[in-house]
Protein backbone atom coordinates (compact mmCIF):
# COMPACT_ATOMS: atom_id res chain seq x y z
CA UNK A 1 0.00 0.00 0.00
CA UNK A 2 2.60 2.54 0.96
CA UNK A 3 5.70 3.08 -1.07
CA UNK A 4 8.99 3.31 0.71
CA UNK A 5 10.94 5.27 -1.83
CA UNK A 6 13.85 7.28 -0.59
CA UNK A 7 12.98 10.83 0.38
CA UNK A 8 14.11 13.53 -1.95
CA UNK A 9 12.97 16.81 -3.35
CA UNK A 10 9.29 16.41 -4.22
CA UNK A 11 8.81 16.16 -7.93
CA UNK A 12 6.77 18.94 -9.45
CA UNK A 13 6.95 17.55 -12.91
CA UNK A 14 3.74 17.48 -14.89
CA UNK A 15 4.57 15.09 -17.66
CA UNK A 16 0.95 14.91 -18.81
CA UNK A 17 -2.13 16.63 -17.47
CA UNK A 18 -4.55 14.29 -15.76
CA UNK A 19 -8.25 14.37 -15.13
CA UNK A 20 -9.00 15.17 -11.49
CA UNK A 21 -9.77 12.06 -9.41
CA UNK A 22 -13.45 11.20 -9.61
CA UNK A 23 -15.45 9.61 -6.76
CA UNK A 24 -16.67 6.10 -7.40
CA UNK A 25 -18.83 3.45 -5.74
CA UNK A 26 -18.12 -0.25 -5.33
CA UNK A 27 -20.71 -2.33 -7.17
CA UNK A 28 -19.21 -5.78 -6.83
CA UNK A 29 -16.23 -7.79 -5.79
CA UNK A 30 -15.85 -10.66 -8.21
CA UNK A 31 -13.58 -13.57 -8.94
CA UNK A 32 -13.36 -16.16 -11.64
CA UNK A 33 -13.95 -19.70 -10.31
CA UNK A 34 -11.84 -21.19 -13.10
CA UNK A 35 -8.94 -18.96 -12.17
CA UNK A 36 -9.24 -19.96 -8.52
CA UNK A 37 -9.29 -23.67 -9.23
CA UNK A 38 -6.32 -23.54 -11.61
CA UNK A 39 -4.46 -21.35 -9.16
CA UNK A 40 -5.04 -23.88 -6.39
CA UNK A 41 -3.82 -26.68 -8.67
CA UNK A 42 -0.67 -24.91 -9.86
CA UNK A 43 0.33 -22.88 -6.85
CA UNK A 44 -1.46 -24.48 -3.93
CA UNK A 45 -0.98 -27.60 -1.84
CA UNK A 46 2.60 -28.87 -1.80
CA UNK A 47 3.88 -26.08 -4.03
CA UNK A 48 2.37 -23.32 -1.88
CA UNK A 49 5.39 -22.79 0.33
CA UNK A 50 7.59 -22.35 -2.74
CA UNK A 51 5.53 -19.54 -4.25
CA UNK A 52 5.25 -15.92 -3.20
CA UNK A 53 3.20 -13.26 -4.92
CA UNK A 54 3.51 -10.32 -2.55
CA UNK A 55 4.53 -7.06 -4.12
CA UNK A 56 7.87 -7.05 -2.39
CA UNK A 57 11.03 -9.09 -2.44
CA UNK A 58 10.99 -12.36 -0.47
CA UNK A 59 13.44 -10.96 2.05
CA UNK A 60 11.38 -7.83 2.75
CA UNK A 61 9.51 -7.64 6.02
CA UNK A 62 5.91 -8.56 5.21
CA UNK A 63 3.81 -9.93 8.02
CA UNK A 64 2.30 -13.37 7.58
CA UNK A 65 -1.13 -11.83 8.03
CA UNK A 66 -0.45 -9.30 5.29
CA UNK A 67 0.82 -11.97 2.94
CA UNK A 68 -2.18 -14.15 3.70
CA UNK A 69 -4.51 -11.24 2.92
CA UNK A 70 -2.76 -10.59 -0.38
CA UNK A 71 -2.96 -14.24 -1.32
CA UNK A 72 -6.67 -14.44 -0.54
CA UNK A 73 -7.38 -11.35 -2.63
CA UNK A 74 -5.12 -12.32 -5.51
CA UNK A 75 -7.87 -13.61 -7.79
CA UNK A 76 -10.46 -11.00 -6.82
CA UNK A 77 -11.38 -7.94 -8.84
CA UNK A 78 -13.83 -5.09 -8.32
CA UNK A 79 -16.41 -3.44 -10.51
CA UNK A 80 -16.90 0.25 -9.74
CA UNK A 81 -19.29 2.89 -10.94
CA UNK A 82 -17.76 6.30 -11.38
CA UNK A 83 -19.74 9.38 -10.40
CA UNK A 84 -21.15 11.19 -13.41
CA UNK A 85 -19.09 14.04 -14.84
CA UNK A 86 -19.33 16.23 -17.89
CA UNK A 87 -21.25 14.27 -20.50
CA UNK A 88 -19.06 15.42 -23.38
CA UNK A 89 -15.98 14.16 -21.60
CA UNK A 90 -17.55 10.81 -20.81
CA UNK A 91 -18.27 10.06 -24.42
CA UNK A 92 -14.64 10.21 -25.45
CA UNK A 93 -12.30 7.27 -25.77
CA UNK A 94 -12.38 4.15 -27.91
CA UNK A 95 -14.69 1.35 -26.85
CA UNK A 96 -13.10 -1.57 -25.07
CA UNK A 97 -13.71 -5.01 -26.51
CA UNK A 98 -12.81 -8.32 -24.92
CA UNK A 99 -10.94 -11.28 -26.39
CA UNK A 100 -12.82 -14.55 -25.80
CA UNK A 101 -10.98 -17.06 -23.68
CA UNK A 102 -8.61 -19.14 -25.80
CA UNK A 103 -8.47 -16.84 -28.82
CA UNK A 104 -5.02 -15.55 -27.93
CA UNK A 105 -2.53 -18.39 -28.07
CA UNK A 106 0.81 -19.06 -26.41
CA UNK A 107 3.55 -16.94 -27.87
CA UNK A 108 1.12 -14.25 -29.08
CA UNK A 109 2.26 -10.68 -28.35
CA UNK A 110 0.57 -8.81 -25.49
CA UNK A 111 0.63 -5.25 -24.24
CA UNK A 112 0.21 -4.62 -20.51
CA UNK A 113 -0.93 -1.18 -19.36
CA UNK A 114 -0.80 -0.34 -15.67
CA UNK A 115 0.32 2.28 -13.22
CA UNK A 116 3.40 1.20 -11.27
CA UNK A 117 2.96 2.05 -7.56
CA UNK A 118 -0.76 2.68 -8.11
CA UNK A 119 -1.83 6.19 -7.19
CA UNK A 120 1.69 7.26 -6.34
CA UNK A 121 2.74 10.03 -8.72
CA UNK A 122 0.32 9.27 -11.57
CA UNK A 123 1.73 12.25 -13.46
CA UNK A 124 4.75 10.10 -14.12
CA UNK A 125 3.57 6.52 -13.83
CA UNK A 126 -0.04 6.45 -15.09
CA UNK A 127 -0.60 3.90 -17.85
CA UNK A 128 2.92 2.66 -18.30
CA UNK A 129 3.16 0.17 -21.16
CA UNK A 130 5.02 -3.12 -21.16
CA UNK A 131 5.28 -5.65 -23.93
CA UNK A 132 5.59 -9.41 -23.81
CA UNK A 133 3.91 -12.58 -24.99
CA UNK A 134 1.33 -14.96 -23.63
CA UNK A 135 3.72 -17.32 -21.89
CA UNK A 136 1.33 -19.93 -20.63
CA UNK A 137 -2.33 -20.60 -19.98
CA UNK A 138 -4.33 -22.88 -17.73
CA UNK A 139 -7.97 -22.07 -18.41
CA UNK A 140 -8.48 -18.42 -17.42
CA UNK A 141 -5.19 -18.34 -15.52
CA UNK A 142 -2.68 -16.75 -17.87
CA UNK A 143 0.98 -15.84 -17.57
CA UNK A 144 2.89 -13.20 -19.49
CA UNK A 145 6.53 -12.24 -19.58
CA UNK A 146 5.57 -8.56 -19.97
CA UNK A 147 7.31 -6.97 -17.01
CA UNK A 148 4.91 -5.43 -14.52
CA UNK A 149 5.52 -3.74 -11.19
CA UNK A 150 3.70 -3.47 -7.86
CA UNK A 151 0.66 -1.25 -8.29
CA UNK A 152 -0.17 -2.58 -11.75
CA UNK A 153 -2.57 -5.12 -10.22
CA UNK A 154 -5.86 -4.64 -12.05
CA UNK A 155 -4.17 -3.16 -15.11
CA UNK A 156 -5.36 -4.27 -18.53
CA UNK A 157 -3.49 -6.60 -20.85
CA UNK A 158 -4.34 -6.13 -24.50
CA UNK A 159 -3.82 -8.14 -27.68
CA UNK A 160 -2.28 -7.03 -30.94
CA UNK A 161 -4.79 -9.36 -32.60
CA UNK A 162 -7.76 -8.91 -32.25
CA UNK A 163 -6.40 -5.35 -32.23
CA UNK A 164 -6.75 -3.69 -28.86
CA UNK A 165 -8.96 -6.41 -27.37
CA UNK A 166 -8.75 -6.70 -23.60
CA UNK A 167 -7.32 -10.16 -22.89
CA UNK A 168 -6.79 -10.14 -19.14
CA UNK A 169 -6.21 -8.17 -15.98
CA UNK A 170 -3.05 -8.30 -13.91
CA UNK A 171 -3.63 -10.47 -10.83
CA UNK A 172 -0.07 -10.52 -9.47
CA UNK A 173 2.73 -8.59 -11.16
CA UNK A 174 5.59 -10.40 -9.44
CA UNK A 175 6.09 -14.08 -8.69
CA UNK A 176 8.85 -15.79 -6.77
CA UNK A 177 9.44 -19.51 -6.70
CA UNK A 178 11.85 -20.94 -4.15
CA UNK A 179 13.03 -17.37 -3.46
CA UNK A 180 13.86 -16.76 -7.11
CA UNK A 181 12.12 -14.05 -9.08
CA UNK A 182 10.34 -15.88 -11.87
CA UNK A 183 9.94 -12.90 -14.18
CA UNK A 184 6.36 -13.77 -15.14
CA UNK A 185 3.19 -11.84 -14.37
CA UNK A 186 0.05 -13.69 -13.33
CA UNK A 187 -3.13 -12.68 -15.18
CA UNK A 188 -6.83 -13.46 -14.98
CA UNK A 189 -8.61 -13.67 -18.34
CA UNK A 190 -11.09 -10.82 -18.80
CA UNK A 191 -13.85 -12.71 -20.62
CA UNK A 192 -14.85 -15.12 -17.82
CA UNK A 193 -14.48 -12.33 -15.26
CA UNK A 194 -16.98 -10.19 -17.15
CA UNK A 195 -19.32 -13.15 -17.48
CA UNK A 196 -19.38 -13.33 -13.69
CA UNK A 197 -19.96 -9.56 -13.56
CA UNK A 198 -22.96 -9.80 -15.92
CA UNK A 199 -24.49 -12.60 -13.95
CA UNK A 200 -23.85 -10.89 -10.61
CA UNK A 201 -25.26 -7.56 -11.72
CA UNK A 202 -28.48 -9.08 -12.90
CA UNK A 203 -28.91 -11.26 -9.82
CA UNK A 204 -27.83 -8.69 -7.20
CA UNK A 205 -29.33 -5.52 -8.62
CA UNK A 206 -32.26 -6.40 -10.88
CA UNK A 207 -32.78 -2.64 -11.29
CA UNK A 208 -29.25 -2.17 -12.51
CA UNK A 209 -29.30 -5.13 -14.87
CA UNK A 210 -29.03 -2.62 -17.67
CA UNK A 211 -25.48 -1.98 -16.50
CA UNK A 212 -24.55 -5.48 -17.56
CA UNK A 213 -25.48 -4.55 -21.12
CA UNK A 214 -22.84 -1.85 -21.00
CA UNK A 215 -20.05 -4.25 -20.18
CA UNK A 216 -17.77 -4.64 -23.22
CA UNK A 217 -18.62 -7.35 -25.74
CA UNK A 218 -16.40 -10.22 -26.73
CA UNK A 219 -14.88 -10.03 -30.20
CA UNK A 220 -14.07 -13.32 -31.85
CA UNK A 221 -13.59 -15.08 -35.11
CA UNK A 222 -16.37 -14.83 -37.68
CA UNK A 223 -19.07 -17.45 -37.33
CA UNK A 224 -18.02 -20.81 -38.68
CA UNK A 225 -14.30 -20.29 -38.21
CA UNK A 226 -12.46 -21.96 -35.36
CA UNK A 227 -11.89 -19.54 -32.51
CA UNK A 228 -8.59 -21.05 -31.48
CA UNK A 229 -5.66 -19.94 -33.58
CA UNK A 230 -2.95 -22.57 -33.38
CA UNK A 231 -0.30 -19.91 -32.93
CA UNK A 232 3.29 -20.21 -34.07
CA UNK A 233 4.12 -23.89 -34.71
CA UNK A 234 7.38 -23.65 -32.80
CA UNK A 235 5.45 -22.95 -29.60
CA UNK A 236 4.54 -26.67 -29.63
CA UNK A 237 8.04 -27.95 -30.31
CA UNK A 238 9.26 -28.45 -26.75
CA UNK A 239 8.95 -31.77 -24.96
CA UNK A 240 9.40 -32.68 -21.33
CA UNK A 241 12.19 -35.16 -20.63
CA UNK A 242 12.03 -37.23 -17.46
CA UNK A 243 15.05 -39.27 -16.40
CA UNK A 244 14.56 -40.90 -13.01
CA UNK A 245 13.85 -38.11 -10.56
CA UNK A 246 15.32 -35.44 -12.84
CA UNK A 247 13.30 -33.65 -15.47
CA UNK A 248 13.87 -30.88 -17.94
CA UNK A 249 12.97 -29.81 -21.44
CA UNK A 250 13.97 -31.03 -24.85
CA UNK A 251 13.24 -30.56 -28.53
CA UNK A 252 12.42 -33.13 -31.17
CA UNK A 253 14.86 -32.73 -34.07
CA UNK A 254 13.44 -35.78 -35.87
CA UNK A 255 10.28 -37.83 -35.21
CA UNK A 256 12.24 -40.23 -32.98
CA UNK A 257 15.13 -38.06 -31.91
CA UNK A 258 15.13 -35.62 -29.02
CA UNK A 259 17.93 -33.30 -27.94
CA UNK A 260 18.17 -32.24 -24.32
CA UNK A 261 20.86 -31.37 -21.78
CA UNK A 262 23.33 -33.78 -20.23
CA UNK A 263 22.31 -32.58 -16.78
CA UNK A 264 18.75 -33.69 -17.57
CA UNK A 265 19.64 -37.09 -19.04
CA UNK A 266 23.24 -37.71 -17.99
CA UNK A 267 23.86 -41.41 -18.48
CA UNK A 268 24.14 -43.11 -21.82
CA UNK A 269 21.76 -46.06 -22.15
CA UNK A 270 19.50 -44.62 -19.42
CA UNK A 271 15.75 -44.97 -20.02
CA UNK A 272 13.90 -41.68 -20.24
CA UNK A 273 10.25 -40.78 -20.63
CA UNK A 274 9.48 -38.02 -23.10
CA UNK A 275 6.18 -36.15 -22.74
CA UNK A 276 4.66 -34.06 -25.46
CA UNK A 277 1.83 -31.65 -24.64
CA UNK A 278 0.81 -30.73 -28.18
CA UNK A 279 -1.15 -31.71 -30.21
CA UNK A 280 -2.13 -34.09 -27.42
CA UNK A 281 -0.59 -35.37 -24.23
CA UNK A 282 1.54 -38.41 -25.01
CA UNK A 283 4.43 -40.08 -23.20
CA UNK A 284 6.97 -42.16 -25.11
CA UNK A 285 9.88 -44.13 -23.72
CA UNK A 286 13.33 -43.55 -25.09
CA UNK A 287 16.99 -44.24 -24.42
CA UNK A 288 19.92 -41.87 -24.05
CA UNK A 289 22.16 -42.73 -27.01
CA UNK A 290 24.67 -40.02 -26.32
CA UNK A 291 25.58 -37.63 -23.51
CA UNK A 292 28.64 -35.40 -23.55
CA UNK A 293 31.26 -36.06 -20.91
CA UNK A 294 31.30 -33.92 -17.78
CA UNK A 295 34.44 -32.27 -19.08
CA UNK A 296 32.76 -31.12 -22.28
CA UNK A 297 31.56 -27.52 -22.26
CA UNK A 298 28.58 -28.57 -24.36
CA UNK A 299 25.90 -29.81 -21.98
CA UNK A 300 24.08 -32.05 -24.48
CA UNK A 301 22.33 -35.43 -24.55
CA UNK A 302 20.53 -37.16 -27.39
CA UNK A 303 17.56 -39.44 -26.83
CA UNK A 304 16.29 -42.03 -29.28
CA UNK A 305 12.57 -42.74 -28.90
CA UNK A 306 10.77 -46.08 -29.23
CA UNK A 307 7.94 -44.45 -31.21
CA UNK A 308 7.41 -41.41 -33.40
CA UNK A 309 6.35 -38.16 -31.77
CA UNK A 310 3.39 -37.65 -34.05
CA UNK A 311 2.24 -34.10 -34.60
CA UNK A 312 5.18 -32.45 -32.88
CA UNK A 313 6.75 -30.03 -35.36
CA UNK A 314 10.36 -30.67 -36.29
CA UNK A 315 12.11 -27.31 -36.43
CA UNK A 316 14.38 -26.03 -39.19
CA UNK A 317 17.89 -25.45 -37.86
CA UNK A 318 19.26 -21.93 -38.31
CA UNK A 319 22.49 -21.37 -40.18
CA UNK A 320 23.20 -17.83 -39.03
CA UNK A 321 22.62 -15.76 -35.92
CA UNK A 322 21.79 -12.07 -35.79
CA UNK A 323 22.37 -10.22 -32.53
CA UNK A 324 19.33 -8.19 -31.57
CA UNK A 325 16.82 -10.36 -33.42
CA UNK A 326 13.62 -11.28 -31.56
CA UNK A 327 13.81 -14.77 -30.08
CA UNK A 328 11.62 -17.09 -28.03
CA UNK A 329 12.44 -19.83 -25.56
CA UNK A 330 10.01 -22.72 -25.13
CA UNK A 331 10.35 -24.96 -22.12
CA UNK A 332 8.74 -26.67 -19.20
CA UNK A 333 10.44 -24.45 -16.64
CA UNK A 334 8.52 -23.39 -13.53
CA UNK A 335 5.47 -25.62 -13.92
CA UNK A 336 6.81 -28.84 -15.40
CA UNK A 337 4.04 -31.09 -16.61
CA UNK A 338 1.33 -29.26 -14.71
CA UNK A 339 0.84 -26.54 -17.28
CA UNK A 340 2.41 -27.40 -20.63
CA UNK A 341 5.45 -25.55 -21.96
CA UNK A 342 5.92 -21.83 -21.39
CA UNK A 343 7.02 -19.37 -24.05
CA UNK A 344 9.18 -16.41 -23.11
CA UNK A 345 10.32 -13.69 -25.47
CA UNK A 346 13.32 -11.46 -25.79
CA UNK A 347 16.18 -10.76 -28.11
CA UNK A 348 19.39 -12.52 -29.00
CA UNK A 349 21.60 -10.39 -26.81
CA UNK A 350 25.00 -11.85 -27.67
CA UNK A 351 26.65 -14.39 -29.94
CA UNK A 352 30.01 -15.46 -28.58
CA UNK A 353 32.51 -16.68 -31.19
CA UNK A 354 35.70 -18.65 -30.98
CA UNK A 355 37.74 -18.53 -34.16
CA UNK A 356 34.77 -17.01 -36.00
CA UNK A 357 32.52 -19.90 -34.99
CA UNK A 358 29.50 -19.24 -32.75
CA UNK A 359 29.94 -21.26 -29.54
CA UNK A 360 27.46 -19.61 -27.19
CA UNK A 361 24.20 -17.65 -27.51
CA UNK A 362 22.79 -15.31 -24.89
CA UNK A 363 19.20 -14.04 -24.74
CA UNK A 364 17.03 -11.71 -22.69
CA UNK A 365 14.18 -14.27 -22.48
CA UNK A 366 13.20 -15.36 -18.98
CA UNK A 367 14.61 -18.85 -18.44
CA UNK A 368 13.77 -20.85 -15.33
CA UNK A 369 14.78 -24.12 -13.75
CA UNK A 370 13.28 -26.91 -15.88
CA UNK A 371 13.83 -25.04 -19.18
CA UNK A 372 17.22 -26.66 -19.72
CA UNK A 373 17.30 -28.59 -22.97
CA UNK A 374 14.45 -26.57 -24.41
CA UNK A 375 14.60 -24.90 -27.80
CA UNK A 376 15.54 -21.30 -28.60
CA UNK A 377 13.79 -20.04 -31.72
CA UNK A 378 13.99 -17.04 -33.98
CA UNK A 379 10.58 -15.46 -33.44
CA UNK A 380 10.46 -14.13 -37.01
CA UNK A 381 11.55 -17.18 -38.99
CA UNK A 382 10.71 -19.92 -36.49
CA UNK A 383 14.15 -21.44 -37.10
CA UNK A 384 15.79 -23.35 -34.27
CA UNK A 385 18.73 -21.29 -33.01
CA UNK A 386 19.95 -23.35 -30.10
CA UNK A 387 19.41 -25.47 -27.03
CA UNK A 388 19.02 -23.72 -23.67
CA UNK A 389 21.71 -24.83 -21.25
CA UNK A 390 21.41 -22.55 -18.21
CA UNK A 391 20.50 -19.21 -16.76
CA UNK A 392 22.82 -17.25 -14.49
CA UNK A 393 23.48 -17.47 -10.78
CA UNK A 394 25.71 -15.23 -8.74
CA UNK A 395 27.37 -17.62 -6.33
CA UNK A 396 28.36 -14.78 -4.02
CA UNK A 397 24.84 -13.51 -3.44
CA UNK A 398 22.83 -16.58 -4.43
CA UNK A 399 20.80 -14.42 -6.81
CA UNK A 400 19.54 -16.01 -10.03
CA UNK A 401 19.11 -13.95 -13.18
CA UNK A 402 16.50 -15.58 -15.45
CA UNK A 403 16.97 -12.92 -18.14
CA UNK A 404 20.62 -13.77 -18.73
CA UNK A 405 20.91 -17.27 -20.09
CA UNK A 406 23.09 -19.38 -22.30
CA UNK A 407 22.28 -21.63 -25.22
CA UNK A 408 24.34 -23.96 -27.35
CA UNK A 409 24.16 -22.82 -30.98
CA UNK A 410 22.43 -25.37 -33.17
CA UNK A 411 25.23 -24.94 -35.72
CA UNK A 412 27.53 -26.69 -33.23
CA UNK A 413 25.21 -29.71 -33.09
CA UNK A 414 23.55 -29.90 -36.48
CA UNK A 415 26.22 -31.73 -38.53
CA UNK A 416 26.58 -34.40 -35.84
CA UNK A 417 22.82 -34.77 -35.40
CA UNK A 418 22.36 -35.11 -39.15
CA UNK A 419 25.08 -37.73 -39.32
CA UNK A 420 23.57 -39.73 -36.45
CA UNK A 421 20.09 -39.38 -37.87
CA UNK A 422 21.14 -40.68 -41.26
CA UNK A 423 23.70 -43.34 -40.33
CA UNK A 424 23.40 -44.02 -36.62
CA UNK A 425 27.06 -43.03 -36.34
CA UNK A 426 27.94 -41.28 -33.06
CA UNK A 427 31.38 -40.09 -34.21
CA UNK A 428 30.21 -36.54 -34.88
CA UNK A 429 28.53 -36.30 -31.49
CA UNK A 430 31.64 -37.67 -29.75
CA UNK A 431 33.58 -34.72 -31.17
CA UNK A 432 31.57 -32.48 -28.85
CA UNK A 433 33.72 -33.95 -26.06
CA UNK A 434 36.80 -32.64 -27.81
CA UNK A 435 35.96 -28.94 -27.73
CA UNK A 436 39.01 -26.72 -27.65
CA UNK A 437 40.25 -24.92 -24.56
CA UNK A 438 39.02 -21.50 -25.74
CA UNK A 439 35.48 -22.93 -26.00
CA UNK A 440 35.79 -24.41 -22.51
CA UNK A 441 36.97 -21.05 -21.23
CA UNK A 442 33.89 -19.34 -22.67
CA UNK A 443 31.49 -21.79 -21.05
CA UNK A 444 33.31 -21.50 -17.71
CA UNK A 445 32.61 -17.74 -18.00
CA UNK A 446 36.31 -17.08 -17.79
CA UNK A 447 38.31 -14.43 -19.54
CA UNK A 448 39.98 -15.50 -22.77
CA UNK A 449 43.48 -16.81 -22.27
CA UNK A 450 46.16 -14.29 -23.09
CA UNK A 451 48.16 -15.20 -26.10
CA UNK A 452 51.42 -16.85 -25.18
CA UNK A 453 54.27 -14.35 -25.41
CA UNK A 454 56.23 -14.87 -28.56
CA UNK A 455 59.94 -15.12 -28.54
CA UNK A 456 61.68 -12.24 -30.20
CA UNK A 457 64.60 -14.42 -31.07
Amino acid sequence: ASLGLEPGAPSRARARPLQPPRPARLLLLLSCPGFRSHFARLFGAEAADQWHFVSSAPDDAVSEEEEEDQLRALGWFALLRVQRGAAAEERRGPAVTVAPLGVVTKGAPLLACGSPFGAFCPDIFLNTLSRGVLSNAAGPLLLTDARCLPGTEGGGVFAARPAGALVALVAAPLCWKAREWVGLTLLCAAAPLLQVARWALSSLHPGSASLSVLLPPEVGAPRGLPLRDLGPPWAAAAVLVECGTVWGSGVAVAPRLVVTCRHVAPREAARVLVHSATPKNVAIWGRVVFATQETSPYDIAVVSLEEDLNGVPTPVPAEHFHEGEPVSVVGFGVFGQACGPSVTSGILSAVVHVDDTPVMLQTTCAVHGGSSGGPLFSTRSGDLLGIVASNTRDNNTGATYPHLNFSIPITVLQPALKQYSQTGDLCGLRELDLATEPVRVVWRLQRPLPEAPRSKL
Binding site: L5, P23, L29, A119, P122
Partner: protein
Protein backbone atom coordinates in the same frame (compact mmCIF):
# COMPACT_ATOMS: atom_id res chain seq x y z
CA UNK B 1 6.79 0.10 -30.82
CA UNK B 2 5.81 -1.37 -34.14
CA UNK B 3 2.82 -0.35 -36.20
CA UNK B 4 0.94 -3.46 -35.11
CA UNK B 5 0.63 -1.93 -31.65
CA UNK B 6 -0.95 1.41 -32.66
CA UNK B 7 -4.62 0.48 -32.05
CA UNK B 8 -3.81 -1.49 -28.91
CA UNK B 9 -1.80 1.37 -27.44
CA UNK B 10 -4.60 3.85 -28.09
CA UNK B 11 -7.16 1.61 -26.41
CA UNK B 12 -4.85 0.75 -23.51
CA UNK B 13 -3.93 4.34 -22.73
CA UNK B 14 -7.51 5.56 -22.99
CA UNK B 15 -8.85 2.71 -20.88
CA UNK B 16 -6.17 2.67 -18.21
CA UNK B 17 -6.83 4.32 -14.89
CA UNK B 18 -5.74 4.24 -11.29
CA UNK B 19 -8.08 3.51 -8.39
CA UNK B 20 -7.45 4.59 -4.81
CA UNK B 21 -9.33 3.59 -1.69
CA UNK B 22 -9.29 5.36 1.65
CA UNK B 23 -11.36 5.78 4.79
CA UNK B 24 -13.81 8.65 5.09
CA UNK B 25 -12.14 11.58 6.82
CA UNK B 26 -8.68 10.09 6.33
CA UNK B 27 -8.13 10.54 2.61
CA UNK B 28 -4.35 10.42 2.74
CA UNK B 29 -3.73 8.11 5.66
CA UNK B 30 -3.10 4.51 4.67
CA UNK B 31 -4.73 4.78 1.30
CA UNK B 32 -4.64 1.77 -0.98
CA UNK B 33 -4.41 1.91 -4.73
CA UNK B 34 -4.09 -0.19 -7.85
CA UNK B 35 -4.53 0.01 -11.59
CA UNK B 36 -7.79 -0.45 -13.44
CA UNK B 37 -9.54 -0.54 -16.79
CA UNK B 38 -12.39 1.79 -17.82
CA UNK B 39 -14.93 -0.56 -19.37
CA UNK B 40 -17.53 2.07 -20.16
CA UNK B 41 -17.41 5.85 -20.03
CA UNK B 42 -21.10 6.61 -19.84
CA UNK B 43 -21.96 5.47 -17.32
CA UNK B 44 -18.46 5.11 -15.94
CA UNK B 45 -17.71 1.47 -15.20
CA UNK B 46 -14.27 0.47 -14.03
CA UNK B 47 -12.73 -2.92 -13.34
CA UNK B 48 -9.79 -2.98 -10.95
CA UNK B 49 -8.01 -5.36 -8.59
CA UNK B 50 -9.84 -6.48 -5.46
CA UNK B 51 -6.81 -6.49 -3.18
CA UNK B 52 -7.22 -2.85 -2.16
CA UNK B 53 -10.62 -3.65 -0.65
CA UNK B 54 -9.37 -6.27 1.79
CA UNK B 55 -8.91 -3.80 4.69
CA UNK B 56 -12.50 -2.63 4.21
CA UNK B 57 -14.25 -6.01 4.20
CA UNK B 58 -16.68 -6.12 7.10
CA UNK B 59 -15.81 -9.71 7.92
CA UNK B 60 -12.13 -9.50 7.02
CA UNK B 61 -10.25 -11.12 4.16
CA UNK B 62 -11.60 -14.54 5.14
CA UNK B 63 -14.78 -13.50 3.33
CA UNK B 64 -12.89 -14.02 0.09
CA UNK B 65 -12.20 -17.67 0.78
CA UNK B 66 -14.97 -18.70 3.13
CA UNK B 67 -17.63 -18.23 0.55
CA UNK B 68 -17.64 -20.37 -2.53
CA UNK B 69 -19.37 -17.55 -4.32
CA UNK B 70 -17.85 -15.88 -7.34
CA UNK B 71 -18.89 -12.44 -6.19
CA UNK B 72 -19.62 -10.31 -3.15
CA UNK B 73 -21.96 -7.32 -3.16
CA UNK B 74 -20.59 -3.82 -2.76
CA UNK B 75 -21.96 -3.54 0.76
CA UNK B 76 -19.52 -6.24 1.87
CA UNK B 77 -17.21 -3.33 2.51
CA UNK B 78 -17.61 -0.86 5.35
CA UNK B 79 -19.49 2.39 4.87
CA UNK B 80 -16.42 4.53 5.35
CA UNK B 81 -14.83 3.25 2.15
CA UNK B 82 -14.11 6.11 -0.22
CA UNK B 83 -13.02 5.43 -3.79
CA UNK B 84 -11.49 7.66 -6.40
CA UNK B 85 -10.66 6.91 -10.01
CA UNK B 86 -8.17 8.93 -12.02
CA UNK B 87 -7.33 8.66 -15.69
CA UNK B 88 -5.33 10.41 -18.34
CA UNK B 89 -6.31 13.32 -20.52
CA UNK B 90 -8.93 12.90 -23.16
CA UNK B 91 -8.30 14.52 -26.49
CA UNK B 92 -10.17 17.79 -26.15
CA UNK B 93 -10.36 18.32 -22.44
CA UNK B 94 -7.43 20.05 -20.80
CA UNK B 95 -7.12 18.76 -17.30
CA UNK B 96 -8.02 21.09 -14.52
CA UNK B 97 -5.92 19.64 -11.78
CA UNK B 98 -4.85 21.47 -8.68
CA UNK B 99 -1.29 20.93 -7.58
CA UNK B 100 -1.10 18.23 -4.98
CA UNK B 101 1.66 17.53 -2.54
CA UNK B 102 3.29 14.38 -3.82
CA UNK B 103 5.19 11.87 -1.74
CA UNK B 104 8.93 12.26 -2.04
CA UNK B 105 10.35 10.72 -5.15
CA UNK B 106 13.95 10.54 -6.12
CA UNK B 107 15.85 8.98 -8.95
CA UNK B 108 18.92 7.44 -7.35
CA UNK B 109 21.91 7.13 -9.63
CA UNK B 110 22.47 3.59 -10.70
Amino acid sequence: MGRQWGPSMRVAEQAGCVVSASRAGQPDVGSWSCSGVILSRSPGLVLCHGGIFTPFLRTGSAALTQTGAAFLPGDSCSDDLRLHVQWGPTTASPAGRADQELPGLCTPQC
